[in-house]
């Protein structure tokens, strides 16, 4: 069956040698590695995928990887392309897509930098968004012990009222 989804997917596959599948109507998933991400993104942007809906990160603790997911929408074709890429958890850095989608991408990358500690090379402003004055706190990481963090930061074990939080 030749639909607009399979047509687009074949084109991407032959051009960039990436994995991908048509998940269902109007949905395409592509997995790529970090080095090809910029090329793929630039090509998709020029091909009508002007709307970057979101960038999200998944923490695969056992694999030692972060999976970044870029959700792209095309108003011409009405297709949602999901570009996935895995990066190393110990040294989480990847090229920023700010040159491609500009401010649209900037705020998402800033948030991920804050919550997961992912470094986006080329993003002009990665200052904290919600966690002002909190250095090196990445609360959305799976191995972040938030209860321990809160006890250290806010509560005093000697205080009778607050000792209950240590039980």
């Amino acid at each position: 069956m030749d639909t607009k989804e399979t047509g687009l997917l074949d084109e991407i596959k032959s051009k960039f040698k990436v994995d991908g599948r048509v998940q269902r109507e109007q949905r395409i998933w592509i997995s790529t590695d970090g080095s090809k991400l910029m090329e793929v993104c630039k090509w998709l942007k020029d091909g009508g995928f002007t709307h970057l809906s979101a960038i999200s990160a998944t923490d695969w603790l056992k694999d030692g990887k972060y999976e970044l997911t870029y959700h792209l929408w095309s108003y011409d074709d009405n297709i949602l392309v999901t570009v996935k890429t895995k990066i190393d958890r110990k040294n989480p850095s990847i090229d920023s897509v700010v040159p491609v989608w500009e401010e649209n991408a900037q705020i998402h990358e800033r948030e991920l930098h804050e919550l997961f500690g992912v470094k986006f090379k080329g993003n002009p402003d990665l200052s904290p968004l919600f966690l002002e004055d909190q250095e090196d706190v990445h609360p959305f990481r799976k191995d972040f012990n938030w209860r321990e963090h809160v006890r250290e930061k806010f509560y005093n074990k000697e205080n009778e009222r607050e000792a209950v939080y240590y039980d």
């Binding site: 919600f130 966690l131 002002e132 004055d133 909190q134 706190v137 609360p139 938030w146 209860r147 963090h149 809160v150 930061k153 806010f154 509560y155 939080y165």
Partner: protein
């Protein structure tokens, strides 16, 4: 003629129609809405919400306060003219409430702002807000 201290004289300026500046996060806003509505109508007592902290006597602070928002609350408090009063509404504001183990909310409001009156509850009853104001008036009247 009763001889009053300087502090008592200053504080007695509070006894009038009090003007409110509200700093509400999250659901904290819903807590004051019944006060403005017709049933508990706080304008009967001359309590109105003003647009700038420089006109306000009372700072209402409600909803959980994050480490980011409490910095703004402090700036607002500093802008208010003396005599000024802070009324904390609801449990989240005072202790973090159900967010007691969040990395981002404050756990003791008195560490950040000088709180005059605590109105506990989730949400506090509108009557309790009036009672808090009345109690402040009472304390001021007792000041010598």
């Amino acid at each position: 003629m009763v001889k009053r201290s300087k502090k008592a004289k200053t504080m007695r300026k509070l006894i009038k129609a009090i003007w409110i500046f509200s700093w509400f996060n999250s659901c904290g806003f819903c807590e004051l809405v019944p006060l403005v509505g017709s049933r508990w109508d706080m304008e009967r007592f001359g309590m109105i919400i003003v647009g700038t902290p420089r006109h306000a006597d009372v700072l209402f602070i409600a909803g959980y306060q994050t480490l980011k928002s409490i910095k703004r609350a402090k700036i607002i408090y500093e802008q208010m003219a003396e005599p000024k009063v802070v009324i904390a509404l609801g449990s989240c504001t005072m202790t973090g409430g159900m967010y007691w183990d969040s990395y981002n909310t404050i756990k003791r409001l008195e560490d950040y702002l000088p709180v005059t009156m605590y109105v506990p509850g989730c949400p506090p009853r509108p009557e309790a807000v009036f009672e808090a104001c009345e109690k402040i008036f009472g304390h001021v009247k007792e000041l010598k």
